[in-house]
Amino acid sequence: MLTTTRDLLRYSPSFRAGAIILVFVLLFVVLSFFSPYAQDERRVVPTNKPPSSEYILGTSATGQDVFWMLTFAVRNTLMVAGLAVIIGRSIGVVLGMISGYVGGTLDRVLSSLADSFIVIPVLPLLILIASLLRGQITLLSLGLLIGFLDWAYPSKRYRAQVLSLREREFTHTAVFSGMSTLRIVLQQHLPFLIPYLLADAVSGFLFAIGFEVTLSVLGLSDMNMQTIGTMIYWGNYYEALLANRTWVLVAPVVASIVIVIGFYQASIGLSQFLDPRTRLAHLQVKG
């Protein structure tokens, strides 16, 4: 683990860039625990002050320090997205792999299920559910919700991978070594899926962030908590653009861009390093 990280940092420029960015992001998240204000406390500072030495990112119309708001926003958005990814990819991996390896009727049932989920337009459905639950939705439930709606596409990819892995001869060797189906899928096939999982997790992460921001901007999430989306919502609510108080909007937007770039870079470097084909190609040069 450690040697892998060290190698990655040393030799993969994209991973290095991504790692540096993500370290900053993490710093930001840690800072949120040291905030002098709670995230839903209003009118704790003068309103609508532009960025200055006293208030680094300015203050909002609700009397909150934009800097500390942002630390909470980054933390909460990442948490929601993280939850969504964990739920979504776990379901996707399990169902996809079972479907692919077991085949038969179970495969057909699960594939049809996945297909119907894929066809569902996620955003309109999220908006619908969120507006039905208006006022009762928490960040936790938001994360779960996004996760439950985003497992289908990845599961198809994992299923396809397992389908091809199932026919490979090392699977037969594993069978004749007496290994049970579950162990074969977990021990033999899962390692091949890891680069896909990682790249997939990142893209899922970014999608989840997108969903969260969208819902929050529409005012459909927990508006008392700070997230990147809610900051944008409240900024719009108080007409920040019209009143030339752009700092309230710039902060969350820039933060989201930075987060996306950071994750993306890191994942490129990581998946290149872990992809069995490129890794083996590096180890062997034929003469």
Binding site: D7, Y11, F273, H282, V285, G287
Partner: protein, 328 residues
């Protein structure tokens, strides 16, 4: 008998750098070879002996991480020798398929899986000809039928053809313009016995009819016995022995060649066959001196220290071995 391609102490290495590790694979390490007009030269050797790399360099396909670090390659097709390694990309392109053509290992390395055979021919050959596509199709069709392939092959995709048919198509591609020199890399491996025989006979037929020169690289000694005039035996990037085919099989002098010939099973002979102990060396860390010394039953001290030079031991017979040179 003119030499149409010559190499002189050719050294070509793969130099890679990945994640901080530098590796130098000495695939071709001092090979001096002369290809004579109109002959069928066999290059014998196992996987990892550098034979495919040798072919690539002969073709001028030297791309990083492959690098020529020493020696020379000379083309002499039109009685005006040219240094092959200094040719520009456009000069090389003019020679490919017209002067030298290449049948790579595995027909799927040449045939584009998403293009029909007809289009592949147009892509490759159309560059050298100034005919209309229709005329070219006719030419291709008649050539393919000479090789025993039905008309519908033209319209097919590679995956619709069997392995044997694909190989014949690849051979057609490489020979249709009657190049002076044809380099074939394992043209019969992975083919069935009967198809293999057909392919070997086809190659011989083409050579007899068009008068070109054929170089066949294969580890299958049976193919060498049935097709070639001369055989050069490669091991770990170096040449061990070179002689006409009859001599190689009847009077091999190099211990590696001797072992290779003796270990081959023959039908009607159930007597014990002894194989060579050990395995072929990795080319990134070859043994010092004579590359074969770790596995050689006659290895002496000098074999570990120095690389034996190729020496003449008969009218058309060269061997690189201290055992042989000491005796002579």
């Amino acid at each position: 008998m003119m030499d149409i391609v010559k190499t002189s102490n050719l050294k070509a290495y793969y130099i890679t750098q990945a994640y901080g590790v530098q590796r130098t694979v000495k695939a071709v390490d001092g090979i001096s070879l002369a290809i004579r007009e109109n002959e069928i030269l066999g290059i014998a050797g196992e996987s990892g002996c550098g034979k495919s790399t040798l072919l690539k360099v002969l073709l001028g396909m030297v791309k990083s991480p492959l690098k020529v670090v020493g020696g020379s390659v000379t083309y002499d097709f039109y009685a005006s020798p040219r240094d092959a390694l200094t040719l520009t990309e456009s000069e090389l392109r003019a020679t490919r398929w017209k002067d030298i053509s290449y049948i790579p290992q595995g027909s799927m390395n040449v045939l584009n899986p998403v293009r029909r055979i007809r289009d592949t021919f147009r892509d490759f050959i159309g560059v050298h000809l100034n005919t209309s596509p229709r005329e070219m199709d006719d030419m291709v069709r008649s050539y393919l039928s000479e090789l025993g392939l039905p008309d519908k092959v033209l319209n097919s995709f590679p995956h619709q053809l069997s392995g044997g048919m694909r190989q014949r198509v690849t051979i057609a591609l490489a020979t249709i313009l009657s190049p002076k020199l044809i380099l074939a890399d394992e043209p019969t491996s992975a083919l069935d016995v009967l198809v293999q025989r057909g392919v070997i006979q086809l190659l011989d037929e083409i050579r007899q009819r068009e008068g070109n020169t054929l170089v066949v690289v294969t580890h299958d000694m049976g193919v060498h016995a049935n097709l070639t005039n001369r055989v050069a035996v490669l091991y770990a990037g170096q040449m061990m022995e070179e002689a006409d085919t009859g001599t190689i099989f009847k009077q091999p002098r190099h211990p590696y060649t001797q072992h290779l010939i003796r270990s081959l099973p023959k039908i009607d002979d159930k007597s014990e066959r002894v194989s060579i102990p050990g395995q072929p060396p990795a080319l990134d860390n070859p043994p010092s001196g004579c590359r074969f010394h770790p596995r050689c039953p006659h290895a002496m001290d000098v074999c570990q220290a120095e690389v034996p030079a190729l020496e003449q031991v008969g009218p058309d017979h060269r061997v690189a071995c201290f055992l042989v040179s000491e005796k002579s």
